[in-house]
């Protein structure tokens, strides 16, 4: 039998033992385990020794790892201790604000919502700006699968050991054609190899999600006042409905995890976990229920010559989606109308108040938000499994050389359905009987094989680490979808079956050289071949070079004893981007069959029959399409003072992307389309990153850490056209509500991507915008499109994150937050709603609510293109606050426990006029609001 205890902060401990006990084992994080054979002594003092291997922070990099002190590239790791705390269901949430140069914005407050990760701003326009994500050696598909809000939800945050961000090209170029936007490596927890005991960990929490501030619309009474004497007044009802309050709710969620780890018979270290997460969204009807399982085996054979690491992760998700259109509808829906009514006119629609015209639902009037939520059932089940087996064989008799094999897969399958009954007013015209039923499936099968060799050698003062290998990856996906009405009597229902695939084949190598433990060099090269490009453009070569110099190791630095670390790094490299979003065969002449609804019909007067003939379309293509290429220069300085009580890094980077994959208009008549994805244009990113981590107080029972990171980033498009055309206006992007096809953003030379293109508003003396009065910026006496200007862009120029942790005896406290400056948001909620002509629609026969910004502007008509709506999105947000208490000595020391409470998203400080300034993409259009979440959790180890 085994007994145990835990020492107090002064190291005192007490253990009552029976006579059979013979060995005492001491363990402490960062120290080597020590065993003492029991004597009769009643006091046993032990001096433990630092475990050098553990203390030397190891960074996981592509195809290997490196000691942090020997790293030459810009690599930053966050381990479980440093993760954000609280009700976080996605891996991205753990990292938010933790790493300089990394910006993570979640898409809103939906359960299991996705996030956008931008490492140093993103280097593409039309192609993906997402970093490559590698989970335990398997580069995963970041596109996700239908029915899933966030592709990374496959990973239970509780299973994550560390997340490593590779930022500069010298670190990422080993991933070649997928590395231009950085790499995020996620490593999950494994069984302990040197523990023969079974350890069990349980963590569980209950959280309460509460809705936050809402869009400031007129109350029913304010609305009645405003409508008095106006057209449409006759339509007002006598209810007082706060539609947003109806749509939102306070909910309770829970998260439960059990993990078991140990080492079976000393040969099979394992870790197995099961997690269950039930997340009820603050918008009515939205929910995510997720079960994750994770098994990891890491046995060693042949006398440590063969290391095996096998892992299987499984995820099973039930999603229930709220109709997110309900949020926008709740903003505009007339507050004097009831949710439901006994009026027989509404009986066919389940009693929900519905805008009617001549007794039928008005097709262009807003739908009742509560009907949208309650009458529609939108579900999806998603299963995903990621698994791999890594073999690491040190060759017998030639131990410097090892062979590594990594075979993995990432499979996911989903099926979803939408059911909206015959009473749903907005589906009333669907076929003979109305309603809407849709189901869809999607399967993805991605497979991976890496084979590489690694050679380590130390000769005198020189140390070599050489790696070279081959990688093969196959991405396949297929899906189906069907649509019909409730009774299934649509004459020609929509059915769709699709499939696509691509392959990547690569050869790569890395050469690390260290001289005298002071001078380091890394050279990497990768050659990638992709099936997405023609044989002429298929192969790309992506090299990098980095140098590092440990200045503080120089003899002439020995006098500076306050300085514990100073390392200068410099690197340059080329990376690529082939995640193009234009299909998997963009170079090929192809012909696409039309579906059953896009046929052409002919009438045969001889037979009286109508003949339907499907169509074949020749597709536009670009024979010469190829990778984007990004060249990155990076200079960094790692520092440590006062025996590393203050550490951090300063980095500067400059990144140029050429041959941008860009969706641009092609000269009319020259191709089989008017817009084509092609390589045209260039952009650049430059920036500075600074991080400071301090251990302000470091006493035996009192610790206080504080870390802050700061990023300055500037992105600019430098070229957009093949021919130099000074009059070229740019590519309009950023669709907004308020008009079919209306855009507010532009990619334009000399400006950041997604810059806002608007008119400059003129204000009266009282600071009120004058409707339709704009500055004649080009002075030609006419206000037209030529007077539009760039009034900012959504990208923050400066952002920072901070974390602080305090522990005092058994108590701990932590807090993390972020700030962002220099970005703008286009307030589409106000621009599309706050004007008087919006109050009543004669064409649709309905009345609409407006936001109270109407009192500020007094606009009669929508002024969508006024810079009045381009508003500063500076903010300071507290992401999470945690207070915890540790029970270190329960059940005779066999058990430790921690009880903690957190608040996520307690507050955001901002001058932004809308609800929430943190909007990915910069267009605020009724995002699912982010809740504030209070959580109570417990974590038990035994």
């Amino acid at each position: 039998t085994t007994q145990g205890t835990t020492s107090d902060f002064d190291g005192h401990y007490k253990l009552t033992i029976d006579n059979q006990a013979s060995i005492l084992m001491y363990s402490y994080i960062g120290y080597q385990k020590k065993e003492i054979t029991l004597s009769t002594a009643t006091t046993i003092d032990v001096n433990m020794e630092v475990d050098a291997e553990q203390l030397e922070e190891v960074l996981v990099i592509g195809y290997g790892s490196v000691n942090k002190k020997d790293a030459t590239g810009s690599v930053e790791a966050v381990t479980a201790d440093g993760f954000n705390q609280g009700a976080i269901t996605s891996p991205q949430g753990l990292l938010q604000g933790k790493v300089a140069g990394v910006q993570i914005t979640n898409s809103g407050g939906a359960p299991g919502a996705g996030s956008t990760i931008r490492i140093r701003g993103g280097s593409s326009l039309s192609a993906s700006n997402d970093p490559l994500i590698v989970i335990d050696g398997v580069p995963v598909d970041s596109e996700g699968v239908a029915g899933m809000r966030n592709p990374l939800n496959a990973i239970n945050p509780n299973d994550i050991e560390s997340m490593t961000v590779l930022k500069d090209a010298s670190a990422t170029a080993i991933y070649g054609s997928r590395a231009s936007n950085g790499v995020l490596i996620i490593t999950t927890k494994k069984g302990e190899s040197n523990s023969s005991e079974l350890s069990v960990n349980y963590s569980g929490s209950v959280s309460v999600n509460t809705p936050n501030e809402q869009v400031d619309v007129l109350s029913a009474d304010q609305y009645r006042d405003l409508m008095s004497g106006r057209p449409g007044e006759h339509l007002l009802g006598d209810a007082n409905t706060d539609w947003q309050q109806e749509v939102l709710r306070t909910t309770v969620s829970t998260d439960q995890n059990v993990g078991v780890s140990g080492n079976i018979k000393g040969v099979l270290p394992f870790r197995a976990t099961v997690g269950y997460n039930l997340d009820n969204g603050t918008m009515q009807t939205s929910q995510m229920e997720r079960t994750t399982v994770n098994l990891n085996l890491s046995p060693t054979f042949l006398g440590d010559h063969l290391k095996v690491n096998a892992s299987i992760k499984g995820m099973f998700v039930d999603n229930q989606f709220a109709n997110t259109g309900a949020m926008g509808s709740a903003v505009v829906y007339d507050p004097t109308q009831p949710v439901k009514s006994n009026d027989p006119a509404y009986a066919p629609y389940g009693g929900y108040h519905t805008w009617l015209q001549n007794g039928a639902p008005s097709v262009n009037a807003p739908s009742n938000p509560m009907a949208m939520l309650e009458q529609e059932n939108n579900n999806a089940k998603v299963n995903r499994s990621i698994g791999n087996m890594q073999l690491d064989y040190k060759i017998h008799g030639f131990e410097d050389l090892s062979v590594k094999v990594n075979a993995g897969y990432d499979y996911s399958s989903s099926n979803g359905s939408i059911y909206a009954g015959e009473e749903t007013a907005w589906n009333i015209n669907n076929g003979a009987t109305g309603g809407f039923v849709s189901d869809y499936t999607e399967n993805k099968r991605n497979e991976l094989l890496d084979v590489y060799l690694q050679y380590n050698k130390e000769i005198g003062k020189s140390r070599f680490d050489v790696m070279g290998g081959y990688s093969w990856q196959h991405f396949y996906s297929e899906g189906t979808s069907n649509e019909n009405n409730v009774q299934g009597n649509v004459e020609n229902p929509k059915e769709n079956i699709w499939a696509t695939e691509y392959y990547l084949v690569s050869f790569f190598g890395r050469f690390n050289y260290t001289f005298n433990d002071k001078y380091m060099a890394t050279v990497t090269v990768r050659q990638d071949g992709t099936s997405r490009f023609s044989p002429n453009n298929r192969w790309g070569t992506f090299p990098s070079l980095a140098l590092a110099w440990k200045i503080n190791e120089e003899p002439w630095m020995q006098g500076f004893d306050k300085l514990s670390n100073l390392k200068l790094r410099a690197g340059v490299g080329i990376t690529g981007q082939q995640n193009i979003g234009g299909g998997d065969y963009p170079y090929m002449a192809r012909y696409t069959y039309g579906d059953a609804q896009s046929q052409y019909s002919y009438y045969d007067p001889n037979t009286g029959q109508i003949i339907y003939v499907p169509t074949i379309r020749p597709e536009g293509y670009d024979e010469n399409i190829k990778w984007e290429e990004t060249v990155t220069y990076n200079v960094g300085l790692d520092y440590g003072f006062f025996n590393d009580r203050v550490t951090g890094a300063v980095e500067g980077y400059y990144r140029v992307t050429n041959d941008l994959l860009n969706m641009v208009p092609v000269p009319a008549g020259s191709n089989l389309t008017n817009m084509l994805l092609t390589n045209v244009g260039s952009m650049e990113n430059k920036g500075i990153e600074l991080s400071v981590n301090t251990k302000i107080i470091q006493k035996k029972d009192f610790h206080w850490d504080f870390g802050v990171n700061f990023t300055y980033n500037d992105s600019k498009i430098t070229k957009l056209t093949m021919v130099d055309d000074p009059n070229y206006e740019g590519v309009k992007v950023g669709g907004i509500s308020g008009g079919t096809g209306e855009t507010i953003q532009i990619h334009k030379e000399g400006y950041a991507p997604y810059s806002f293109l608007v008119y400059e508003q003129i204000y009266d003396e009282g600071g009120k915008p004058i409707e339709g009065a704009y500055v004649d910026r080009n002075g030609d006496g006419v206000i037209d499109e030529k007077d539009m200007y760039i009034a900012g862009d959504p990208m923050a120029n400066v952002y920072l994150g901070f974390t602080t942790r305090v522990s005092y005896k058994n108590w701990e406290f932590s807090m993390a937050g972020r700030a962002s400056f220099g970005g703008q948001v286009y307030n589409n909620v106000d621009s599309n709603n706050a004007y008087y002509n919006n109050l009543y629609s004669s064409a649709n026969g309905n009345t609409n609510n407006v936001t109270s910004d109407i009192y500020n502007t007094g606009f009669q008509n929508a002024q969508l293109k006024s810079d009045y709506y381009v508003q500063d999105a500076n903010f300071f947000r507290i992401d999470n606050i945690m207070v915890g208490y540790n029970f270190n000595n329960l059940n005779d020391g066999k058990m430790t426990a921690r009880v903690f409470g957190t608040v996520n998203n307690p507050c955001v400080f901002s001058n932004y006029k809308g609800v929430d300034p943190e909007i990915q993409g910069g267009i605020d259009n009724n995002m699912y609001p982010r809740p504030t979440t209070f959580m109570l959790g417990v974590n038990v180890n035994f």
Partner: protein, 509 residues
């Protein structure tokens, strides 16, 4: 495993060049896309896999764009939407970056390029039938080039099957006012009606309804020659007469009314394919099989709103956009606001005057196109319309005949007009034929059928008129005013002039 990089599409809907055209059915399907180019917007109905990018798919639909370009800047119609570029279509103050004009231009040129591709792909087709398909492809290309000529002039990019995909920058057909595009259209049409030609259209008033036959080519030739004065500053009226006469001799007016609708009304109903004796060429739609947010779905839905009862028009609900202006109603009334011509299908629950273009209820509604069958029953669906759009019909040819006679000799018989009046039961004597009467009569018979801009230009009444007064909102002012003559032609999109240095912009844009 490097050879695995040579992938071919695994999607069941997608094929490579080698395995697309394999049997006769595939050649039919390739041709079907060329017809569908006027009806649908892509390979998923109603939307989802569009042919064109950079614009809302439904708004990019060929007929929707063409109709608006031909009707909104005229005395017949006004639109109340405030979507980008939309008001200026009614105001006649558009600029070269107008997204709707850009979409129209892209749609027209796209249609030419897919016709070209079909002609390339079918060059050595091993089926005799494909020769007639190729003749139809050539007709459709000429039809679209005619739109290009009429809307943008001789300076549009000119490509044929002899150009390659994706390589060179297209050259314009010619200088402004040049005859190159006119000559090309003329030559192509003459070639495919030639009875000895290998690639020949089927005879007039024959074949399937929806297919272009020689009747369609005669009509297009007639229109090309009739407007030659505008297009190339030449008098080609003799040829115009020849081909218009050929049309008239091959078709007959629909005369029979149904219990619910007059003969005239049946031309615009969900089963108007039955009226193929009068309708020479139509763009076909089907609520179940040819779905789009443009086409006649747009024409019916955008014309219904406010107090109009959607059920009467066979749809579930209207979009509230298009209605008429007093300048149209005046052509149907006796001078005291009493309607005397039954062809005017007005919804008078709206106000007659338009003082706020955004208000759908200002300006009489137009009930011409409906998604109802001639027996009074509903069409297949309430959300997508079955009705075919008559591109050319005999009534138009009859009025052209009268106009050509009038222009050739200074006077004309009123017999053709009398036929049209008699058909709808309009009483009273037909006045003596004059320019002013002809232009008004064309509106009475053909309003909202996509001819008005061309007609106004031919009569010299478009940008500034001598006897057609500025209509409401012409020039962007409520009472209307004349506009600069540059608006006679639409501008090439600034984006294309920027992307293709070979192109020149139309004057003063």
């Amino acid at each position: 495993c490097v050879h695995q990089l040579d992938t071919v599409p695994v999607d069941p809907r997608e094929k490579t060049k080698d395995n697309t055209y394999t049997d006769l059915a595939s050649y039919q399907q390739g041709l079907s896309k060329l017809y569908a180019g006027y009806a649908t917007t892509g390979q998923q109905g109603p939307a989802g896999d569009g042919d064109l990018g950079g614009i809302d798919e439904g708004a990019s639909q060929y007929l929707r764009r063409l109709w608006e370009a031909q009707e909104l800047p005229t005395d017949e119609a006004i639109n109340g939407w405030t979507d980008p570029g939309q008001p200026s279509m009614s105001f006649m103050n558009w600029v070269s970056t107008n997204t709707l004009i850009e979409a129209l231009y892209n749609r027209v040129i796209y249609q030419v390029t897919i016709c070209n591709q079909y002609l390339r792909d079918t060059k050595d087709a091993p089926f005799e039938e494909v020769k007639a398909y190729r003749a139809q492809a050539r007709f459709l290309r000429a039809f679209s080039y005619w739109h290009a000529l009429d809307l943008f002039g001789n300076i549009v990019p000119f490509v044929t099957e002899n150009d390659n995909v994706g390589s060179d920058l297209p050259n314009p057909a010619g200088e402004l006012g040049g005859t190159e595009l006119f000559d090309y259209i003329e030559a192509e049409l003459l070639a495919i009606i030639e009875t000895s030609a290998e690639e020949q259209l089927i005879d007039a008033n024959a074949g399937l309804v929806g297919q272009a036959n020689k009747g369609a080519a005669y009509m297009l030739l007639g229109k090309l020659y009739l407007n030659a004065g505008v297009y190339i500053n030449q008098d080609r009226l003799t040829e115009a007469k020849k081909y218009t006469d050929l049309v008239v001799s091959n078709y007959t007016l629909v005369e029979s009314a149904t219990q619910d609708y007059t003969a005239y009304e049946t031309l615009f109903l969900a089963d108007n394919y039955l009226q193929h004796k009068e309708i020479i060429f139509a763009i076909n739609f089907d609520g179940n099989y040819t779905q789009t947010y443009g086409g006649t779905t747009y024409l019916v839905c955008a014309s219904v709103g406010g107090e109009m009862d959607a059920a009467k028009y066979g749809i579930g609900g209207g979009w509230g956009g298009n209605r008429s202006m007093p300048s149209l109603y005046e052509l149907f009334e006796d001078g005291n606001e009493n309607q005397i011509d039954p062809r005017g299908l007005f919804f008078k629950g709206n106000k007659r005057e338009v003082t706020d273009y955004r208000e759908f209820t200002e300006g009489y509604g137009i009930e011409k196109f409906k998604n109802m069958k001639s027996d009074g029953s509903g069409a297949t669906r309430l959300d997508f319309v079955d009705t075919n759009f008559p591109v050319f019909r005999l009534a138009d040819a009859l009025l052209m005949q009268t106009e050509i006679d009038y222009r050739l000799s200074g006077s004309a018989s009123n017999l053709n007009v009398k036929k049209l009046w008699d058909r709808v039961g309009r009483t009273g004597a037909v006045p003596q034929i004059s320019e002013e009467f002809l232009l008004a009569e064309r509106a009475r018979e053909l309003y909202w059928e996509g001819h008005r801009r061309t007609d106004l230009r031919r009569f010299g009444q478009y940008s500034n008129g001598t006897y057609v007064a500025p209509w409401s909102y012409k020039g962007g002012v409520v009472d209307g005013k004349d506009v600069d003559s540059k608006y006679e032609l639409y501008p090439l999109p600034a984006s294309d002039v920027g992307a293709n240095p070979n192109l020149k912009q139309n004057p003063n844009y």
